[in-house]
Symmetry: C2
Subunit: 199 residues, 2 copies
Amino acid sequence: MFQSLGARAFAVPAPVFLVGSYDRDGRANIMPAAWSGLCASHPPCLAVSLARTRWTHAAIAERHAFTVSIPDRDMAAQADFAGLISGRDEDKFAALGLTPKTAEHVDAPYVAECRAVIELRLLHTLALGSHTQYIGEIMDVKVQSRYLDADGFPDMRRLDPLLYVPLAREYWSVGQIVAKAFSVGRSVDRRAVIGGDGS
Amino acid sequence: MFQSLGARAFAVPAPVFLVGSYDRDGRANIMPAAWSGLCASHPPCLAVSLARTRWTHAAIAERHAFTVSIPDRDMAAQADFAGLISGRDEDKFAALGLTPKTAEHVDAPYVAECRAVIELRLLHTLALGSHTQYIGEIMDVKVQSRYLDADGFPDMRRLDPLLYVPLAREYWSVGQIVAKAFSVGRSVDRRAVIGGDGS
């Protein structure tokens, strides 16, 4: 039986993205953003939504650029820390012992220690109450070579990215491969279903 | 060393959401949408981006409503199937033996067999090249009672939702809890990092 939880910001899985930007003084900053996701293929676009009070919020509005660095399981405490304090007050890269590296295609820094990073040019800005959604065009995806599989694609097991679970407010790891997409669905036998119990 | 993969639609984890809608003739339909994510807290909002050629794309534009049903690991083949054919041609609910149930707050159907569902009222429509981003205000989140934890929150282990991995085109399961958010970051010792190796 379904139980209503009301109008809450909940969906799983949510990602844990470290959004990188330079502030007006050129200081590198990062913050975690779980209200995020891909939103187009051509051009490739990704959206991150940030609370309007965030230091990063102002930085992206000024520089029209940001990065997403994908933290792995061992970076959970660092990612969480980056959400607890503000880049207004403290250099989080220094506090966390992380290295800001300037992106190749956009005016923003990424986390050199992360296994995968994405460079984004701001395309759209949409005010949504508590948050502003920044949609960036993906200018490049970079993955450290040893986290690529034999086909040259990012290997999910080796990337070992974090997930975020709203409401329970937990970080989770990924599990294992379940099936190949655009493939396993072909095994569904319509006739068996339709002819089965007469439903 | 970072290797560039170019301007590709990649980020992990991506969700596997089954987007439910009624078409112009009132027929219930679902399709999987991995280019999706939460995007605001107040009001709670969630975005799904759909290719412009999709039957669901037209349905949401007409009805200004949709649902998101979250499939679990055992529904991978059904979710994948729902992306391989079009609701223009076939009743996917019937073909898959799934039950469309009309949402309580919006004019759209959800999958009664899913463990968690979200009801959404269309707030914004944004054209993004290949895809259109539909932002919905979350009107309600419903979870089957046995998938809630002791605090009344959705239990990630029991929900067992699917993840999608772009480029490799795989479905994955979730793993295990890594840490509590807004908490584990407090354990980071700035001084140890800063004073450590002099970096």
